[in-house]
């Protein structure tokens, strides 16, 4: 895709033109600032462009949903964030939100309504599955054909919101071999970063949670560990590195598989 045609419209721009997008792509803090995870944002932008979706982002008007603050117990900081975000979203009359972050997804979908923010919020796994089913995104196996992929369920997508199948269905399209870890789906093991753990050292123990989980991933000898969450991506990546397997086992987000297969 040539660079001139790559669209990254902001809500402010669209609004100035009197237009409204079909969906708002909620980038999230990791998607905006984390060097590794910015690749997921780029992948999403490429997919949205390729599928010709009428979307927009908030750009600098976006702010943390407040998820880590609420989980750390600081309800005041959470609600301040929520109130500000809701004001922005409601001002733009946003109806549909797509986000790649399960924590943003959970908060926007389940926790904002009570504070006055009612949106149809979709995690990118479900959204990508929808685009594939509608034929808007097409890809074959590409470099992933015949490779072993194991999907790591993130707690905030799986147990928290009962989304287990959509990510797997996206991966099935890659013509790869999907292998499950011992603990998967509703019994999946946390990467160790939820509940604001991402932002502090773990309490004293005999092991880090992400090491325990990476050990399980390594055990199924995958070529790729698929994730659908920025925290899971960091934790699984570090875990795989801990076992010196980063050369053999790559950690990729669902959207990166599509971009890779499609060679976008």
């Amino acid at each position: 895709m040539s660079e001139e045609t790559l669209r990254i419209p902001t809500m402010a721009e669209l609004s100035a033109e009197g237009k409204s997008p079909e969906i708002l792509f909620w980038v999230g803090c990791a998607g905006s600032y984390d060097d590794r995870y910015k690749a997921v944002t780029r992948a999403m932008i490429r997919i949205l462009n390729k599928a010709n979706i009428n979307f927009a982002v908030l750009g600098t008007e976006e702010s943390c949903t407040g998820d880590p603050a609420r989980r750390a117990g600081d309800e005041f900081t959470f609600q301040m964030q929520a109130a500000m975000n809701i004001e922005v979203l409601n001002n733009y009359n946003i109806k549909n939100i797509v986000t790649a972050c399960p924590h943003c997804f959970n908060t926007l979908k389940n926790e904002y309504p009570e504070l006055g923010g009612n949106y149809d919020v979709i995690h990118h796994s479900t959204y990508l599955q929808k685009l594939i089913n509608e034929g808007k995104v097409k890809f074959g196996g590409g470099e992933f054909k015949g490779k072993r992929i194991t999907y790591h369920d993130s707690c905030y997508l799986g147990r928290a919101n009962d989304i287990y199948e959509a990510p797997r269905e996206v991966l099935e399209k890659l013509d790869a071999e999907l292998v499950e870890m011992k603990r998967c789906k509703s019994k999946g093991l946390c990467c160790g970063a939820g509940g604001a753990q991402m932002f502090k050292d773990a309490e004293k123990g005999k092991k880090e949670v992400n090491i325990e989980r990476a050990e399980e991933a390594v055990a199924v000898r995958p070529d790729y560990v698929a994730v659908g969450c920025p925290f899971c991506m960091t934790m699984m990546g570090d875990g795989i590195k801990h076992f010196n397997k980063e050369k053999e086992i790559k950690v990729l987000d669902l959207s990166e598989f599509i971009v890779g297969a499609q060679d976008l």
């Binding site: 905006s32 600032y33 750390a72 600081d74 309800e75 959970n106 147990r159 773990a202 090491i211």
Partner: protein
């Protein structure tokens, strides 16, 4: 007469225990779940009655089901025993069904009883010899360990009396014509000339056959009394034990939190404060000094909801929550089961103090957080919901953990330093990391300039 008295005393004790536990549960704050009786009923039938979640571990699930089915169905036999006890009859259901059917029916109950007996022995072995890891955690020392064993031994003894009662009865029926005492003769001549043997207990007949008829009558009566008084005792014991789950599992599953598991409960008092801060709402005109400042989060059980306390009384300490807890399995101090057990301990402590002090009741200076639960435990939770998912009776250990975290963060303002930094970043920069908000859209420029 003696029997009726025993029955009434049992009923009285159980009723007072019921009132005590109910009052303790009501120490909690109000809770109003989503109004959806159809869904709640569905869950109760599936999960409490149907034991659905127990089968997540098929082998143990099956063994538990044997005890459960045994418990449910043997109650029919207990009903007969109770009616016999009140009316002075012997095997009052026998003439109702006829010898053959009655024999098959009791034989079936005996089969269940044998299943219960066998399973209880396996469970004793699992707990004490094989030492299943989740039964061996620090919170399972002392009373929790003893309680579990007592229940299993209790059940084994009860089943033994049941078999003894039936075996001696079979022999007595065969000897009914030899019985000198007319009253005894009438008593054990239930089936006229077709004395019955029961499926399992007949194996015990050789054991007792050598006894004289008088000894047998004595033994049969003794076994009958021990069995039924044992059951009454068990019923009372249960109200003090972790075994309360046999009753509370039903209401507890009925009152399941129906929202998505990831949704944390809102705090409306803070919503109001935030709106005032943002100038979206005026402070209430009558907001005077006399208004009590609300406290945030939970420091004691009285800050939790009654549903959290019901959860705690329902917990049978099986430890499936702790077994799947990522913090616990990596050696951190947090154990969801311990938190739930602490809630019950603390509610019991307050309840007992209330009963002892009556109208002069004054709270003690202990608290759930601090005296039972430490900050270290609370901070280790990843809020992954594995514990919530794992509980066979839909207990939610996560809610009290997060409520106590709220206390730590908002009342003590004493979260770990890294969190303090994160919270400052979220508040000031709109991101958990220390990046300038103006840099938030830099990725787009980077992408366009690639």
């Amino acid at each position: 007469m003696l029997f009726v008295t025993a029955l009434l005393v049992t009923a009285g004790v159980i009723f007072s225990r019921y009132k005590y536990i109910r009052r303790n549960i009501e120490l909690g704050k109000s809770w109003k779940g989503e109004h959806n009786p159809a869904e709640r009923l569905r869950l109760m039938i599936l999960i409490a009655f149907g034991q659905k979640k127990m089968f997540a571990r098929p082998f143990v699930g099956l063994m538990h089901f044997v005890i459960y089915a045994g418990f449910l169905l043997i109650n029919i036999e207990i009903l007969e025993i109770v009616i016999d006890g009140i009316t002075g009859h012997h095997r009052i259901f026998a003439p109702l069904f006829g010898a053959t059917i009655y024999q098959i029916l009791i034989g079936f109950f005996e089969l269940l009883a044998l299943g219960v007996l066998t399973t209880c022995i396996i469970f004793l072995i699992r707990r004490n010899i094989v030492k299943v890891e989740r039964f061996d955690k620090p919170e399972m020392k002392g009373w929790a360990h003893l309680d579990a064993n007592l229940i299993l031994i209790f059940e084994i003894v009860l089943m033994f009396f049941l078999f003894t009662m039936n075996a001696t009865d079979s022999i007595l029926q065969m000897r009914a014509t030899d019985l000198v005492n007319n009253m005894d003769a009438a008593h054990y001549k239930v089936f006229e000339n077709t004395p019955v043997r029961f499926l399992v207990s007949q194996a015990l007949i050789p054991l007792y056959d050598g006894l004289t008829t008088t000894q047998l009558v004595l033994l049969e009566r003794a076994a009958w009394w021990f069995h039924i008084v044992g059951i009454m005792g068990f019923a009372i014991y249960v109200t003090y034990s972790k075994h309360l789950h046999i009753f509370l599992a039903f209401p507890n599953v009925y009152f399941t939190r129906l929202q998505p598991k990831g949704e944390m409960n809102n705090m409306p008092s803070i919503t109001k404060e935030v709106k005032i801060t943002m100038g979206m709402e005026e402070p209430a005109a009558d907001a005077g000094m006399e208004d009590e400042i609300p406290s945030f989060g939970a420091k004691d059980v009285t800050d939790l909801t009654w549903r959290n306390i019901l959860d705690a009384y329902t917990c049978t300490q099986c430890g499936r929550c702790t077994d799947v807890c990522p913090a616990n399995m990596t050696g951190k101090k947090l154990s969801p089961r311990k938190i739930v057990m602490n809630v019950r301990q603390r509610a019991d402590e307050i309840g007992q103090r209330m009963d002892e002090m009556g109208e002069y009741y004054k709270p003690d200076d202990k608290m759930l957080y601090g005296d039972y639960v430490t900050k270290e435990e609370l901070m280790a939770c990843t809020s992954c919901n594995a514990c919530v998912e794992a509980c066979p009776v839909n207990i939610n250990p996560l809610e009290p953990i997060l409520e106590m975290r709220r206390y730590v963060a908002m009342e003590e303002a004493d979260v770990p330093d890294a969190w303090k930094a994160m919270l400052t970043n979220v508040g000031n920069n709109g991101a958990p990391w220390a990046f300038a908000p103006t840099e938030r859209f830099k990725w787009a420029d980077e992408m366009k300039n690639q």
